[in-house]
């Protein structure tokens, strides 16, 4: 999305890239709106991939909001999603409330658990939070499996749909709306004074503390916000797929989100969103092609994650950004539109 | 023994040393003096291999040591006692000394070296089983020097042994260095305590903003106008 000033290193003086980024964002949004009408995306299968891609894109963005800015890995992200999903599913099933009401309620429960986890672990070293969120996730998973009266355990809980249609297209636009809203809200937070504090803390906790910032407050706030968003996505997941099993909370689901977030580029928000579409769709196609090797795509995720960590810590966003800078610098006039249409291609085609 | 020629060095964004020339002969006791931030610590860290020289040569006994990893420099016989001591807080004094003697394979030699440093610092001997993390500031400095002495280095780099110490422990530390020097160890000392240091050492360099601005024997510098004005408050 709105780009360059979210780079820690970027300076306000870089007007050019900023405008470039804005144009790129507008183009990308237009492309994502028009995409379902371009073959092969007109088919229901492909539109289902698009919904899944938008969902994982939003998840990766909210994940990046903590991982990329305060350097805390929420290793239980999927479990917070699952908590939101189960909350909404159970309330809708039991009390017959509208699934739309599930969104704030799912956000609330996931946010509250995030707040408690954050309060407990975020005053300790960052790794405590990563590991504790993992523990909490496994405990939630255990609860979802064992409390069969409420969740039906591994059998899965049938959930009423969000929309009165089987068509994937409306779901896609709902999820795309959620994705764009997530990006806009989180980008605004990051660009505010609060976001400045996040970045200061993420880069150097001690220095931030010395300059009078109370890190715990900001850390907990950031973590809670991200978890609440996870809850929202979980609600969509539940009411879109129509069935919830405890597996949605599993570590491998978190790792999928995490891999996309880091491959997309930490600390950019838009990077994970842009990379999620081609990656998720490629993985789905791979799964269909190589149904005899269902584990292969995870090997690829693992390998990509390792390569990114080692050689390109700023991920795809970093690559795109440096391309953008280069394009912006070369032709003195008319750089805007030409550069913009070239910049987003890696994300838009696929 | 140690020869720095045209050494430039510094950190990622900041060059600290500019064309530093410095020489220490076998058996000499030499000091580097200068104001805060002049680059004294950086000089020692560059010699010891913690900071890489960007330019120039550093020779020890005729061989270049530029680019060697710190532990390699240490194994050549250059002991380094840092400003912050870098003790092993969770180990006893005795164990700190044993780690100091890591490169010594001969057990008897280690034992006799332990006896020697305990003789030099009786206070450490009294507390040899106390954890280094619970020692007082003065005791820490003593232990840091003692640990640096364990492999019997031929050259000892000592960074501000008086830092944070009251006058009496400072004198004790200087006394220990003097004894060491008299026993034949070559010492390169960094100090802020100009007056005492100049009375103690054979020669000294004055470093300002990363450049050597003055050089001379102790008495020479003590009688130098600039030194008197800038450092002795005369």
């Amino acid at each position: 999305m709105v780009t360059t000033s979210t780079t820690p290193a970027a300076s306000a003086a870089q007007r050019g890239p900023q405008r470039l980024g804005l144009i790129a964002a507008v183009v990308l949004i237009a492309v994502s709106i028009a995409l379902p009408f371009v073959p092969p995306f007109t088919g229901q299968d492909w539109q289902r991939y698009l919904v899944g891609a938008a969902l994982i894109a939003a998840s990766a963005v909210a994940f990046d909001f903590t991982a990329g800015y305060i350097d805390i890995v929420n290793f239980g992200f999927a479990a917070f999603m699952g908590l939101g999903g189960y909350t909404s599913a159970i309330l809708v099933n039991t009390y017959g409330i509208s699934p739309w009401l599930g969104f704030p309620l799912g956000a609330l429960t996931a946010g509250i658990l995030g707040l408690l986890t954050g309060l407990l672990t975020l005053r300790l070293r960052g790794i405590y939070a990563a590991v504790m969120t993992w523990f909490v996730a496994l405990a939630l998973l255990g609860l979802a499996r064992n409390l069969t009266d409420v969740t039906r355990g591994p059998l899965g809980l049938a959930v009423s749909p969000l929309l009165a249609t089987n068509d994937n297209l409306p779901y896609y636009y709902v999820m795309l709306g959620i994705l764009i809203a997530t990006l806009v809200v989180l980008t605004l937070v990051i660009r505010s004074r609060v976001g400045l504090a996040f970045r200061a803390i993420g880069q150097n906790l001690q220095a931030a503390r010395a300059s009078g910032i109370n890190p715990t407050v900001f850390l907990v706030a950031n973590f809670t916000i991200s978890c609440a968003f996870a809850g929202v996505f979980g609600v969509f997941y539940a009411h879109y797929y129509g069935i919830l099993t405890p597996d949605v909370m599993g570590t491998s689901h978190t790792i999928e989100i995490l891999a996309i977030a880091y491959i997309g580029g930490r600390g950019s928000l838009w990077g994970p969103a842009v990379i999620a579409f081609p990656m998720y769709i490629a993985v789905q196609l791979l799964k269909v092609q190589l149904s005899s090797q269902p584990a292969l795509y995870l090997v690829i995720y693992g390998l990509l994650l390792i390569l990114v960590m080692l050689y390109r810590p700023d991920g795809a966003a970093g690559v795109i950004r440096s391309l953008g800078h280069r394009l912006d610098r070369r032709p003195k006039s008319g750089a805007g539109p030409a550069g913009a249409s070239a910049t987003p291609t890696p994300g838009a085609t696929a | 023994m140690l020869k720095l020629k045209g050494v430039e060095s510094g950190y990622d964004l900041l060059q600290v040393l500019w064309d530093v020339e410095l020489e220490v002969d076998e058996g000499e006791f030499v000091a580097i003096l200068g104001p805060n931030g002049a680059g004294k610590t950086t000089t020692l860290r560059t010699i010891a291999g913690y900071v890489r020289a960007l330019k120039g040569s550093i020779e020890f006994n005729g061989k270049s040591i530029v680019g060697l990893e710190p532990h390699r420099v240490s194994r050549l016989g250059i002991g380094y006692v840092s400003e912050s001591s870098n003790l092993f807080a969770g180990m006893s004094i005795h164990e700190n000394l044993l780690v100091g003697a890591y490169t010594v394979k001969n057990k008897q030699l280690i034992a006799s070296q332990v006896d020697l440093v305990f003789e030099l610092f009786p206070r450490l001997h009294e507390r040899r089983n106390q954890l280094a993390g619970t020692l007082s500031g003065g005791e820490r400095k003593m232990l840091a020097i003692a640990r640096g002495l364990m492999p019997s280095p031929s050259l000892l780099l000592v960074d501000e042994p008086s830092l944070g110490l009251a006058p009496i422990p400072t004198l004790a530390a200087f006394e220990a260095l003097k004894q060491l020097s008299q026993r034949g160890t070559t010492i390169l000392l960094v100090e802020q305590n100009v007056n005492t240091t100049l009375h103690l050492v054979d020669r000294a360099y004055v470093l300002e903003q990363g450049k050597v601005v003055l050089e001379g024997t102790g008495p020479q510098l003590l009688s130098n106008k600039d030194v008197q004005e800038a450092y002795l408050g005369i």
Partner: protein
């Protein structure tokens, strides 16, 4: 908790220092164990056998964190590699034993071949990990090292598990027992030979591990690096070698645990998930990077697991420890044995 006190015997200061919540918990745990083991001795046997193996896992995990600041997520996969090695080495040995049932050397010592090879292979993988991953990352940047290495090991873990799945499938493959002999009578309680050997191997390895860290020149150097890298370099200790040794030792121990425990946990691609989780429980409970505390904590967690499994139900085994850890973190944020003086093996 006989082993816990045995480890602490020499360290009276340690006991005195923690004569509060920690020792209260240890005393309660010991009491609970005594009561339970009178009722049901097999619980005690299981606690000691599995606790010993968790101690090897957790000890290695704590060591890598203490020395290299790497919170390893791939530790469980070395356990998995260990089960694989045991499987492939012991299966032919087993048929050799069947062919020559009177060859006592083969029968009694044969099973150890897989365990030893597992340790060696684990160690080799550890060294490779240092060479191919951590050294590269260290060269690039040490910024955000802890999180980056965590993610690196997470990526590695996905690869290990899914490559194993592609190569060996999803189904459990195990060895029902290493020693086909009747149970042995230990103080009136019949104990299966495998359980007994598991316990003995665990205790023996832990003793060697502890002696190595405390008394040997290299072990001391490892602890020195964990406390102050610069200080260690001043003493002429090369960090690279210590890093390699640390990873070799830690990964070797995890693989050894997998090989020894295969009678209990047959190979599947994700067999390491639970040991990894337990090792992390222990390490968080004991305080990050504290190997000694991790060893004690491993027996505590093994006991909680056995008690939960026995009195509640097996599927709560993973839920309850989280509750306990949350309580511990509330009252003692740095873990039961954490203190201001940080080190791999506190005195």
């Amino acid at each position: 908790m006989t082993t816990a006190t045995a480890t602490n015997l020499k360290q009276v200061p340690l006991l005195r220092r923690y004569l509060n919540l920690t020792s209260a918990i240890l005393v309660v745990a010991a009491a609970a164990m005594i009561v339970v083991s009178i009722q049901n001795p097999s619980l005690l046997v299981n606690t000691l056998a599995t606790g010993g193996m968790w101690a090897l896992m957790a000890g290695g995990l704590a060591l890598v964190f203490g020395v290299m600041n790497i919170p390893s997520f791939v530790h469980g996969d070395l356990f998995m590699v260990g089960t694989l090695v045991a499987l492939f080495v012991f299966t032919p040995i087993q048929s050799m034993i069947q062919d020559a049932p009177n060859d006592f050397v083969l029968k009694w010592l044969g099973p150890f071949a897989g365990m030893i090879l597992a340790f060696i292979l684990g160690a080799v993988i550890g060294v490779l990990m240092e060479l191919l991953l951590f050294r590269q990352l260290r060269r690039r940047s040490r910024e955000q090292w802890v999180m980056n290495t965590f993610l690196l090991t997470a990526g590695l873990s996905i690869m290990f598990e899914n490559v194993a799945m592609m190569a060996f499938g999803n189904l459990p493959q195990g060895i029902s027992r290493y020693w086909d002999v009747p149970p042995i009578d230990v103080l009136g309680v019949p104990v299966a030979m495998d359980r007994l050997v598991t316990f003995i191997v665990a205790m023996g390895t832990l003793a060697v591990f502890a002696l190595f860290l405390q008394r040997s020149r290299t072990g001391r150097a490892m602890r020195a690096v964990s406390m102050d890298e610069t200080g260690a370099q001043m003493a002429g200790i090369g960090l690279t070698r210590i890093y390699q040794l640390t990873l070799a030792l830690s990964c070797g121990l995890a693989a050894l645990a997998g090989a020894v425990l295969i009678w209990l946990t047959p190979f599947t691609p994700t067999v390491g998930a639970s040991p990894l989780l337990i090792a992390w429980y222990v390490v968080i409970l004991a305080g990050l990077g504290n190997v000694q505390g991790a060893v004690v904590g491993a027996f505590l967690v093994a006991m909680v697991q056995q008690l939960t499994g026995y009195y509640l139900a097996l599927n709560w085994v993973d839920v309850l420890p989280t509750g306990i850890i949350i309580l511990v973190l509330l009252f003692k944020p740095s873990g039961l044995f954490g203190s201001e003086v940080k080190g791999v093996w506190e005195q």
